[in-house]
């Protein structure tokens, strides 16, 4: 599609214009960092943010989401009656500003998960109303990032608009017609000139050396590394350390597992069935009636997470289960990290194979 240019000072006007027709979400400053939140005033938007605790996935799959409402009662003869009515929560025109490339990769996976097989209309109806405006990462968020290793340092093809900061302007690529229309209708963006494009090229090529590689292997090798390392010693060590707190999965832009619970009104007749984020790191996750737990040890759960991130998700959906965003590493209080684990596994396997 086409490249446009919008000067930085015109951005607030764009945001304000959008607010008339959309809920506008973007990174804002919090007392301790940044978070994706609804923007009420244009100047809250912090496009030069580093990272957030929760990825923007919370707007795509809310922490707690109502699936349907129910009403139970009884008819005059005493027979039970039950009515159910589906709920599609948070389906409203929404513009999400400033998604980093890694987080867009997470949403690309979500789109597959919830549309393939049984189509999850709760997700899809919400998704249809979303406009994604990405922002090109020009600097690593911090030392925990390993997006370059995971190949997510460039924008995946799911954005409607994608912005790159070039001096005092944003160069904006349009990823969809919807995006282009939005840009033209709500902002003063102009077509980019050759000069702009040259500057963009310089900015993009200059960014790569700023990012370092952390993995001792390429991302394409992780599935086989994990297959070989299924019974490696490292899992026991990590299992010992792990707090089983699930922080790593909750902050992960590709984790989507959920629990389903019923909530009951005080009248004991009406209520809602909701889904809430769940984590495979928790003891109960694979426990079944009779007390058998398919992942009893923390070691098996830590391994399962790494398997999912580095192998299983790729097997099923063809996309990497890890975006290299580094959030799990920042969240973990006992320093269990994906690069650290994969590298240790790599070393252990090398020793084992005598290489």
């Amino acid at each position: 599609m086409s490249l446009y240019i919008l000067s930085k000072e015109k951005l607030p006007a764009f945001v304000e214009a959008l607010q008339a027709g959309f809920r506008v979400v973007g990174p804002v400053r919090t007392p301790t960092g940044f978070a994706f939140e609804e923007i009420t005033q244009a100047d809250q938007l912090q496009l030069d943010y580093t990272t957030t605790i929760l990825p923007p996935k919370k707007y795509f799959l809310p922490q707690r989401e109502t699936l349907f409402k129910y009403h139970t009662g009884s008819n005059p003869e005493g027979a039970q009656s039950v009515d159910v009515e589906p709920v599609f929560q948070d389906v409203q025109p929404t513009v999400i500003f400033g998604m980093h490339t890694c987080d867009m990769s997470g949403i690309m996976l979500y789109d597959k998960v919830f549309s393939e097989g049984f189509r999850d209309e709760h997700y899809m109806t919400r998704r249809d109303k979303m406009v994604i405006i990405g922002i090109e990462c020009l600097h690593p968020c911090d030392d925990a990032s390993f997006c370059k290793d995971m190949g997510t340092l460039t924008a995946p093809p799911i954005y409607d608009l994608h912005m790159t900061e070039v001096d005092d302007d944003y160069l904006i690529d349009t990823g969809s017609e919807k995006g282009e229309r939005l840009l033209l209708n709500y902002s003063e963006a102009k077509m980019a000139t050759t000069d702009h494009m040259q500057r963009l090229g310089r900015v993009l090529s200059a960014k790569w050396p700023r990012f370092r590689m952390r993995l001792k292997m390429s991302k394409d090798q992780t599935p086989s590394l994990l297959t070989l390392g299924y019974n490696a010693h490292i899992w026991e060590e990590l299992g010992e350390r792990c707090l089983a707190c699930g922080s790593c999965t909750n902050v992960c832009p590709t984790c989507f597992c959920f629990d389903v619970q019923d909530e009951l009104d005080i009248n004991m007749q009406d209520g809602e069935r909701v889904r809430v984020w769940d984590s495979c790191q928790l003891h109960e996750f694979a426990l079944v009636a009779g007390g058998h737990n398919f992942r009893e040890s923390k070691a098996s759960r830590v391994r399962h997470r790494l398997m999912r991130k580095g192998k299983y998700i790729k097997q099923v959906h063809g996309l990497s289960g890890c975006t290299g965003c580094g959030r799990c590493e920042r969240a973990c209080l006992v320093d269990i990290t994906i690069p650290g684990t994969l590298n240790a596994l790599h070393d252990e396997m090398k020793v084992e194979s005598g290489v």
Partner: protein, 277 residues
């Protein structure tokens, strides 16, 4: 629906904050009164019915004479629910257990304290009678209270979350206090309060008790990283859970560290105890 189930509230050694939370729950959920009939609630009413099916017991058992009352409640009720940390864990009351009981009696009440103020080490009520369900917390969470009542009315056994508080804390997108230099016991504490303390900037103190997989060794490592001494770590671990830590390790945490225990003459605080006339 048939006759409303009758419920009763009882208090033992406690601050009555949990009962107060029940009263507060009525602010938003007056409908509770349509579901159950409250027949005893000393803090809020004069009527005293003896005919109850569910007994909510607040407070720890801290003296021999409490036991008979607890047994009588157990005898009458078809279900006993421990209301709050005092009843569930022993709670703050168990902090005194690190000393011989005479030590605390005389410290606060002078040399006569031993005789005038009956007491023994604080215990959760489950140490005395069988408990069917627990509503943890200091104080309890009012929504959890309502949920437990509803579940019991549905004929279900209320179950507690078995995972750490960090789960709920992350869902609220709190910045982790332990990474900001504020101590938090969230990683070892049972969830269910929606991480209310970390959400208000103060570390979790473990009032809901430990979750079954609590990793004490690495929690200690985290706290040592804050520069805490072992004594301070034990002080944090035992604010609500002295009884549990003692049961787990077989000895009263912190007890060696306190001088008066080795001192055979019992301490009388010039500071706190009333003067002898």
């Amino acid at each position: 629906m048939s006759a409303k189930p009758k419920i009763a509230f009882f208090d033992f050694t406690s601050c009555e904050g949990c009962q107060l939370t029940v009263i507060d729950a009525l602010q938003t959920h007056l409908g509770l009164l349509d579901l159950v009939e409250i027949v005893q609630f000393r803090e809020a009413m004069s009527e005293k019915g003896q005919n109850y099916q569910i007994a909510f017991v607040e407070g720890s058992c801290t003296r021999k004479s409490d036991e008979a009352r607890l047994l009588a409640i157990r005898e009458q009720a078809s279900a006993v629910v421990a209301l709050g940390a005092c009843a569930h864990l022993g709670g703050v009351n168990s902090m005194k257990n690190r000393w011989p009981i005479e030590n605390v009696q005389t410290y606060v009440y002078g040399q006569n304290g031993k005789d005038a103020y009956e007491s023994y080490p604080a215990r959760p009520i489950s140490a005395v009678i069988k408990v069917d369900a627990v509503i943890p917390g200091c104080p309890i969470d009012r929504h959890e209270f309502l949920r437990v009542v509803q579940m019991m009315l549905q004929g279900r056994t209320p179950r507690l979350p078995d995972y750490p508080l960090c789960v709920e804390c992350k869902l609220r997108e709190n910045a982790c206090l332990n990474t900001l230099g504020i101590l938090c016991l969230g990683p070892i504490t049972r969830a269910g309060c929606e991480a209310i303390c970390p959400s208000y900037g103060d570390g979790c103190e473990g009032c809901r008790g430990w979750h079954p997989e609590a990793n004490f060794d690495y929690m200690r490592e985290i706290l040592r990283g804050h520069g805490l001494s072992d004594h301070e770590i034990d002080a944090r671990f035992t604010m609500f859970n002295h009884y549990q830590m003692e049961q787990m390790s077989g000895h009263a945490p912190l007890s060696e560290a306190v001088a008066p225990v080795t001192d055979t003459s019992l301490p009388t605080s010039s500071f706190a105890a009333p003067k002898e006339d």
